[in-house]
Amino acid sequence: MEMTESGEGRKDVLVLLEETEGETVLRRLNAEDGSVVWEFRETTRDVPLQVSTNVEKVFVVYLKGVSGAYNLKVAVLDTLTGKRMDEMVIGSRADVHGKDDVMFVGANSAAPVVAWTDDARQTLRVNVLGTKSRQEFPLPEGTVAVEIHAPHLVQSQPHFLVHSKTATGHRGEVFHVDLKTNIISKAYSLPLLAGPGSFSTSSDGANVYFTRITEDELILLSSQSHGILGRWPLKTGDSKAAAIHGVSEVIKKTGSQDSYAVRAAAVTDTDDWVLIRNGELAWTRPEGMTGGVAATFADIPESEDLARSLEQEAHINPLQAYIHRVRRHLNDLQYLPAYLDSLPIRIISSIRGTDTPSTDGKLVRDSFGFHKLVVLATKRGMIYGLDVGNSGRIVWRKRAFKIQKGSKWDVKGIQADESSGQVTILGANDDYVLLKTDTGEVVGAQAPGPDATTQSTAIVDTLSGPRLIRIGRDGTIGELPVYRAPTQSVVTRGAEGELKGVVFTPNGTTSYESTSWTFSPPQGQRIVNIATRPSHDAVASIGRVLGDRTVKYKYLNPNTLVLAAVNDATHALTVYLLDTVSGQLLSGAKYPGVDATKPIECAISENWFVCTFFGQYSLRDSPAQAIRGYQIVVSDLYESDEANSRGPLGDSPAFSSLEPIDAAAGGAALPSVVSQTYVLGAPVSALQVTQTRQGITSRQLLAYLPQSHGIAGIPRMLLEPRRPVGRDPTPAEAEEGLLRYHPAIEMDPKSVVTHEREVLGVERIIAAPAVVESTSLVFAYGVDVFGTRVAPSFLFDILGKGFNKVALVGTVVALGAGVLLLSPMVRKKQINMRWSASM
């Protein structure tokens, strides 16, 4: 639970762990190799709180009693052996309400204290650890929260500061502990200042300094007296930093008597991390972006003025339209000097091959479609707008809700509406935020309610365009107005975890939901992963041309999903392919020996799907051989087993999942599945397929490598189920680009899109098409945030950075010079020739 260093020659670590059955264990771990030096077990059902030490003893602080009326219990242990020396209960009355009331447990200092308040935050009770007495101090009127700051060095004087926050301001009171008598006395108090602020301690030998960061000042105080040692105005630029919590380091300048240098790192109320050096902002870091829970790509909204004036021109008579246009162009002339100004910079940067940064902060779409925004919501309730085309510059940041300490914002869905330029974020507790994409201005919001009502959300097509709808906890959506009801079937999870297909039937102005099908996995199977098609899944060609010029037609049913269900008893994984309109099972595959405790993930795109898991089994066709490792199964879906055949559907222009054609075999037209399994060199998670505008570019499977902290782009060419097994490809197959099957796919470092950077804890990867066909925009979030552009078939439609413009221009100039030099020579020669020829 808590970690504290024990101040010994070798700094060992004390760890307090809460185990099941109310048992708590305190372990002293060797700082060099993490082995257990000793452990102390407590089997009483007390709530463990913290561990603390002074020089010779270890204190374990528990809450003893029943919920709402606790007493503090302190167990005193010997530092060297971990044997219990003493145990005491502080106070006779049960006056501690819960864990949150205990403000502070000091550690490592000469006199560690424990402090707690009553529920109304009126009195503060302090106990010096190791003694039984406690002292009470009244808290200032209107206090809502209390923090205590004390030095963490044994040599430092045992002084501490009580930081009490009111609704509008904050104040501090400094107390001294008498080491001999263990009596706590109040030394001085600091004035109430408006706004939030932070205190931090720093000790230099015996001296203890307190650094106070308010909204506009950095103040340095000594613990001895209330005299201000130094004060610096805060220069944090245009960003208003309201520090919430900080740490500081104070250095007394040698030579001069009362000259100090202070640097303080603080967390601000916008989840940023700033370092303030003598009042000046040294750096700031958007630490709040860790813990992303939802993100989406959004186009930069186009300038509405231009669209409006163009529309206007189309609707008035030609002469007026002409005058209007001329006037508009004359008006545009005012931007000409600025444009001419920027020309040299643009030319130089284009020759150097660097991207032109749009430093003026204006958001403009570019012709390649690289300039997009990413809207990222974090679990701490912050929303960020990032400019993808500008190395992820933060365009805006907004706090959506104040999220309580210990809880997190459970975002279920996010959708960017291109037509209105707004982003909708739906949370689990009936909350929503609607904000503008380009400025982050909140248009509408509803704070989270007490209960989680939402199972998930889905982006559906409605009569009024695509919409994000909320799905209730047991898979019910409820009645919706006709214009907002989905026009397709929606797949939800039922109360028992089964899958349901829900359709909406309009009746008057309201649409009512009805279940069209349900799919329950067989007894003992548990659904672990569901993959659906990306909303943008362009398919360039309906068939694959084989080496012998025959065509295998792809099975391109847009209403399919992949479902992975695992049986925990038999370790069997079953992967189902379902038709979402009819609930029909299109294909199924079973894999034995799959570890359900390791990630099992699927992805589907175009006419293929992949599933990755850890498998350990013997081969079906040769049971003597066994396979073990992280595997990926790729399956291609075709309309028919044979080439040049369109299967039971033939050339019919339409098909229906609900009314299957009368095939010879009967039933629905089932796809022909070709599968192959590969063994991966490392586990993968967060699967995502790259998306491009037309789908002509070959695809890559993007996957996070949790062990080596990178994002790999596995080419689809490698993950090809038709690779010939056990023989070299025939010339026809080689022409198709098929390589010989090799079971292992090692992660090629050149295919790692994060290169050498370590990206930690990626939860999801999202992809979006750019305007140019070759490129797909990629954004990964989780703990770290990472964005890039990938070109699976290389940059075939734009000039790469490697294109040497200097060489091109140089060659042209050299050629020109050569022509100029040679032309008089050639002319002279030709004239000579003419003359001699005539003779």
Binding site: G9, D33, S35, K598, Q616, S708, A744, K829, A837, M839
Partner: protein
């Protein structure tokens, strides 16, 4: 002044207790039949001369069905897996800079045996280690990795991993250089012919008059005369006296060619006479 010395003595005292307690810990673990495995990364000169240069995020995983253990890189370039129960495991080292051969680790699967390269772990659990091939049969074991007893705790086993290669994340971008153009054989050939084209007439002009006369006599006898004459630029262009109108009118082209060839020689002779 007294404080540091006091601390030192405390540390010394602590050291003895650590040994005692770890021994106690070992005794405790014998009842649960587990062992401690230590994997060491040796210095492998061409790729990794100094294993201390490994990034701190390097970690090793021990996986089997239903088991997953991970160990961070220690300061001594080892990965220590504690309390490993009997079983057959896949051991991978995940490192962003070097590739390491995956290993198969069998703990306590052999009943008895004292072959070389088998380390006795705690509680009589025998540890065997082989290199394994990803995607290959699990029974197809590679080279045996020698296992020795020892390590940080008494009774643990130590074995070494094999570093197989560095990991290159970047491709060198081909850069343009003028020299690369001249390395092209086609360019070289055309340059040689260009040199001939421009250099020959100069050579001929600089020749001694008698030598030149002799050379030209030989040129006349040469059947390639016409061709050479054209290429050296001395004679008349064969197309120079090509009569298009006559050709279109259907006059004999062969006769023209013949006269052109002989006229060529004459032209040269006349040229010389003029000078």
């Amino acid at each position: 002044m007294q404080l540091p010395s006091l601390l030192l003595s405390a540390a010394a005292l602590l050291g003895t207790t650590v040994l005692a307690s770890s021994a106690a810990h070992d005794r405790q673990s014998t009842t649960t039949t587990t062992t401690t495995l230590t994997l060491r990364i040796p210095a492998s000169p061409p790729v990794l001369p100094n294993p201390h240069a490994l990034p701190a995020s390097t970690r090793a995983t021990l996986t089997a069905l239903g088991a997953a253990r991970a160990a961070p890189l220690s300061a001594a370039n080892t990965f220590v897996f504690r309390d490993v129960p009997a079983g057959s495991y896949l051991l991978d080292v995940h490192c962003p800079t070097v590739g390491v051969m995956p290993l198969r680790v069998d703990v306590g699967l052999r009943a008895n045996g004292d072959r070389d390269g088998i380390g006795k772990g705690e509680a009589g659990l025998e540890v065997e280690v082989w290199e394994t091939f990803r995607g290959g049969d699990w029974g197809n074991k590679g080279a045996v990795v020698p296992v020795s007893a020892g390590g940080a705790d008494g009774g643990a086993v130590v074995f070494e991993a094999r570093v197989v290669g560095g990991r290159e994340y970047f491709m060198e971008r081909s850069s343009f250089s003028v020299l690369s153009i001249f390395k092209n054989p086609i360019i070289l050939l055309s340059m040689v012919s260009m040199a001939l084209f421009f250099g020959m007439p100069k050579l001929v002009e600089n020749m001694d008059p008698e030598m030149r006369a002799e050379w030209e006599e030989r040129q006349k006898e040469n059947p390639m005369n016409a061709v050479m004459g054209a290429s050296t630029g001395q004679g008349v262009n064969p197309l120079g006296n090509f009569d298009m109108a006559g050709f279109l009118a259907g006059s004999s082209a062969k006769a023209d060619e013949g006269s052109g060839g002989s006229g060529n020689g004459k032209g040269k002779g006349e040229n010389r006479k003029k000078r």
